[in-house]
């Protein structure tokens, strides 16, 4: 990899500066301008994201930029590889969709500044900037600051409605996140003390298998697992994601919770490759399996729709961590690693779109009915068919049914598991799919049930918002047309692996 800044670094800087400058502008202008600023930044941000991905694809190399022209280890580097590109584009598209969806819910009328609206639009842009900073960060402390930015932008969204339950949920979320941050910092100081740098690429060449490295990676991973709500650190997620307003829940479940996972991937695959880690990877996979089983079973028992979807997030996050035991490369190299790698990332992306669509649909249903009790959903299928369709499409991805990104992702994880002889993960994937089918059909059956009298809606739901939910869900479905083989874009920046053809 070239050791100097490459062209296109300007785009990387823009990816962070644009949303954050927008957030600052929203705060200053206030009132109705907050929404307008967001509406201008959103398409611009999508253009920047696509440009970054296009540049990476065109040059087939990592985009690297040394901030301030100071070389690491003294300075901070931005690095965008194929994985970054995919996540940046996902975040841009999803936030655009969520922003458009939220316009009705967080209006900014002339002359008056509404608390919730100003907070929502400012925090939405801040979350976007923070996410991009996480996806391109090449320095572990810079990633820490980006994570804190993300947490402080996400927590107030949980308690936006001001009720006691959401305040408690937000406080619990913040406490877990702070625990995660402090564990992450403890790991970072051990790494710096032992190797004299926090730059990811430099660390990967200096790190050795010794107690300091082990302790550091364990501490940092534990902290990040707390932020990602992996079992057994999941306690904070269901009340927080269920209590937030629907567009915020979509962002939280779809994107915010993927950022700590992304950093764990960076730690394990980019910092640690020279440190043998097979047993530890199995432990991560075990926690992931526990999350899948626990989350799905508890989801089945939920009475409220948003809580069911939130517990489903707990379960689907577990799939992400199945990637670790399957994609970690032992010394000899293994061709199925790239399959598992593609499967894991595809799971993250398709879950982002699918879960966002489901939360959007749940939000519309709750607005229409005034409640989100599953038992009271009868007849909503007739009243809001598009919404229920969006929910169902999202559910396809969760269950792993074709055509959907979830199907491709889980099929790749299954194939890798069987081919590598780690068949126990295959059992977990299949069981998880069955359980997901259970709770999705639970909701759909209620929604599509025939009722004697038509259900009365408390408020009119515009067709455009329902179509937006379907559009987001369709993104998850479109990912189902990704061929069942390692994605070349995702391989940019990975050390050379034997790419295997899965047919």
């Amino acid at each position: 990899m070239p050791n100097s800044a490459t062209a296109g670094g300007f785009l990387l800087v823009l990816a962070i500066v644009l949303p954050i400058a927008g957030a600052l502008l929203s705060l200053v202008l206030g009132g109705r301008h907050a929404e307008r600023v967001a509406l201008i930044v959103m398409p611009t941000g999508v253009v920047v994201a696509v440009a970054i991905a296009a540049t990476i694809w065109r040059t087939h190399s990592v985009l690297q930029y040394f901030v301030g022209n100071w070389d690491p280890p003294l300075g901070v580097a931005f690095r965008a590889d194929g994985l970054s590109a995919v996540m940046i584009v996902t975040a841009a598209l999803l936030i655009c969709g969520i922003g458009l969806f939220a316009r009705t819910q967080f209006p900014t009328p002339r002359g008056v500044e509404a608390r919730a609206s100003l907070a929502f639009w400012t925090l939405l842009l801040a979350i976007w900037g923070a996410l991009n900073a996480v996806f391109i960060g090449g320095d572990l402390f810079n990633l820490y600051v980006a994570l804190e930015l993300l947490t402080f932008a996400a927590v107030p969204l949980v308690s936006l409605d001001g009720s006691a339950e959401t305040l408690a949920a937000a406080l619990r979320y913040l406490l877990f996140a702070l625990l995660g941050s402090i564990l992450y910092l403890l790991g970072a100081v051990l790494l710096y003390g032992a190797y004299g740098t926090l730059d990811i690429v430099l660390l990967s060449s200096r790190i050795n298998a010794e107690p300091a490295a082990w302790a550091a990676i364990s501490l940092m991973t534990a902290g990040l697992l707390a932020k990602a709500a992996l079992y057994p650190f999941h306690l904070w997620l269901p009340p927080a994601h269920a209590g937030a307003p629907a567009p915020a829940s979509a962002m939280l479940s779809g994107l915010v919770v993927k950022a700590p996972f992304f950093i764990v991937v960076r730690l394990w695959f980019d910092v640690m490759p020279r440190v043998p880690e097979r047993t530890a990877a199995q432990v991560l996979g075990l926690l992931g399996a526990a999350a899948i089983l626990f989350g799905s079973v508890v989801a089945l028992r939920q009475a409220r729709l948003k809580l069911l979807i939130a517990y489903s997030t707990v379960a689907q996050i577990g799939y992400l961590f199945l990637m670790f035991p399957l994609a970690i490369m032992p010394e000899t190299g293994h061709p199925w690693n790239s399959v598992a790698w593609t499967g894991g990332i595809l799971q993250a992306v398709s879950h982002a779109f699918a879960k966002a669509a489901m939360f959007m649909a749940a939000g519309l249903i709750a607005e229409a009915l005034g409640h989100d009790r599953i038992a009271g959903l009868s007849g909503i299928g007739r009243a809001l068919p598009t919404t229920v369709f969006a929910f169902g499409l999202g559910g396809l991805s969760l269950m792993g049914l074709p055509p959907s990104g979830g199907f491709v992702a889980k099929a790749m994880l299954l194939t890798a598991a069987v081919a590598e002889g780690q068949w126990w993960w295959a059992v977990v994937v299949l069981t998880g799919g069955l359980l997901a089918g259970g709770y999705v059909f639970l909701v759909l059956a209620k929604a599509l049930a025939d009722t004697s009298q038509p259900v009365t809606l408390r408020s009119r739901i515009s067709q455009s918002r329902q179509t937006l939910a379907v559009a987001v869900a369709l993104c998850a479905v479109l990912l189902g047309f990704v061929p069942l083989r390692p994605l070349e874009l995702l391989q940019i920046g990975r050390p050379n692996t034997a790419v295997v053809d899965v047919r």
């Binding site: 402390f141 600051v145 402080f152 927590v155 702070l178 402090i182 100081v189 710096y192």
Partner: protein, 105 residues
């Protein structure tokens, strides 16, 4: 043992103390206090690493010291947000605890 190593052990002990306070105290305000203690210990470890890196005419490696300053500011902001949430929760409910099924922080 140099004084830097001594303070390093002190920092390690602070982390343990803070962690104990975090687990054992049910009140969120005490947990926030405990967080600040753990943070203090972690920052102290950074300071130890900085002191051990003294060279080239400098008494300490300035990079970890700068990281600590950044960390202190971020920790303050986190404390402020947590306290504000807690006080609002108290205003709304009259109680200052998370629900009693809060086993871990």
């Amino acid at each position: 043992m140099t004084d830097a190593t001594l303070y390093g052990l002190c920092g390690a002990a602070l982390v343990g103390l803070g962690l104990f306070g975090l687990i054992v105290h049910p009140q969120p305000l005490r947990k926030i206090l405990a967080f600040n203690l753990i943070g203090g210990g972690a920052f102290l470890l950074f300071g130890v690493v900085a002191r051990r890196g003294a060279s080239a005419g400098l008494d300490g490696d300035p990079v970890p010291q700068a990281l600590v300053i950044t960390g202190l500011v971020v920790a303050f902001a986190a404390t402020a947000l947590a306290v504000a949430l807690l006080l609002r929760l108290f205003q709304e409910t009259g109680r200052a605890t998370l629900r009693s099924d809060d086993s871990q922080p």
